[in-house]
């Protein structure tokens, strides 16, 4: 008899039920299958009413993140064989409101991303005219921020963060890492502007350094590291202002 594996899927259909439920499905166990394949199989062959997000199937688009047995993971990168013969419970990412089944409402995340002004900011009048070409950067300068630029906005780090789950006002791991990505870019001059958001109470100081955001990150962005470094530089700012109130920070 062909092997099968049980998937327990979080169901929430707002027009039908006021509380979510779990629904079990038996799917063929295939060594090469990832959890996303199994969900797609359910949707195509067993129950077409399931809603979930996915796109690239190769860990690039960041849209297939879900809780798998309570751990946030990209479902396209989580193999069934890692769990077999145990059953697999799939839930929408923690911390976010659920729109339907496995689909979360990510508006909150998108607005946090824009809050950190994730683009290169130049001081007024210091912008290089297009004719003068691009801003040059050395490999060393690129290395400073490259890691933080690998983020695919999958939101696994938010789902892993208990601080965010308890208080969604927290700016959160990916947004702060993205802010750091621009702060550490040699072409950027917008740090002071971003500090208003990043060094605020809902910014880095909300973080208690649980560290799980970095543990679940599929791209090794290390948002926890970015946050701690931002804390350190914010503290340095504070002392600089205190000791040299006349000196203006760059």
């Amino acid at each position: 008899m062909a092997k099968t594996i049980e998937l327990e899927i979080f169901r929430y259909r707002p027009e039908e039920e006021s509380e979510p439920t779990l629904q079990s499905y038996e799917v063929p166990f295939n060594e090469e299958w990832v959890v996303l394949d199994a969900i797609n199989y359910i949707k195509d062959e067993i129950d077409g009413t399931i809603s979930h997000r996915w796109s690239c199937r190769m860990g690039v688009c960041g849209s297939c993140g879900m809780m798998i047995n309570r751990v946030p993971r990209l479902t396209c990168a989580a193999f069934l064989k890692e769990y077999y013969p145990r059953k697999i419970r799939v839930e929408p990412l923690d911390g976010f409101p659920v729109e339907r089944d496995l689909v979360t409402d990510m508006d909150m995340f998108v607005s946090k991303l824009t809050d950190v002004s994730p683009w290169i900011i130049r001081n007024e009048g210091e912008e290089k005219p297009v004719e003068e070409g691009t801003y040059l950067q050395s490999p060393g300068e690129l290395a400073e921020y490259k890691q933080y630029s690998m983020c695919i906005n999958c939101m696994l780090c938010y789902a892993a963060c208990p601080v965010f789950a308890l208080d969604t006002n927290f700016l959160g791991p990916a947004a702060i890492a993205l802010g750091q990505r621009y702060n550490m870019d040699s072409r950027d001059q917008g740090r002071d502007q971003r500090q208003e958001v990043i060094a605020s109470h809902d910014g880095v100081w909300h973080c208690t350094f649980v560290g799980e955001c970095s543990a679940v990150c599929p791209k090794d962005v290390d948002p926890a590291g970015a946050i701690q470094r931002a804390k350190l530089s914010s503290t340095a700012d504070y002392f600089k202002d205190l000791l040299m109130p006349w000196g203006k920070r760059k």
Binding site: P14, D105, F209, G211, R229, L232
Partner: protein, 130 residues
Amino acid sequence: MSYIRKVPNTWWLQRKPYFLFIVRELTSVAVAGYCGFLLYLMYALSKGPDEYSAAIGLITSPASYTLHMIGLLLVLYHTITWFNVTPKVLVFHLGEEKVPAVIIAGAHYAGWLATSALVAWLLLGTGTSV
């Protein structure tokens, strides 16, 4: 209507990393408590020999030994877990290469060892007993 899931009060018991995090946070109570205790000893010392020897008498009780052992374990856990994450905070580049994490954490352990050796030498090595 979106559905908002509530975070159970037991969230920190549901996964090992969260539990270990809470333990790390709670160990700071032991660190603060021991600092308070040392301050009390200094206070007793300032009050004169009688107060001080009464305080020392308190320390040498079996209950105090047990408390000290528990306190030591908690403070060790606190120190080790924090030292291990220092490379996340302190990032240095030598040229284009990042200074490896083991060196950053290792420097902290080396500092710890040196300080402990100094204290041990002051207390034991100089031949004077407390």
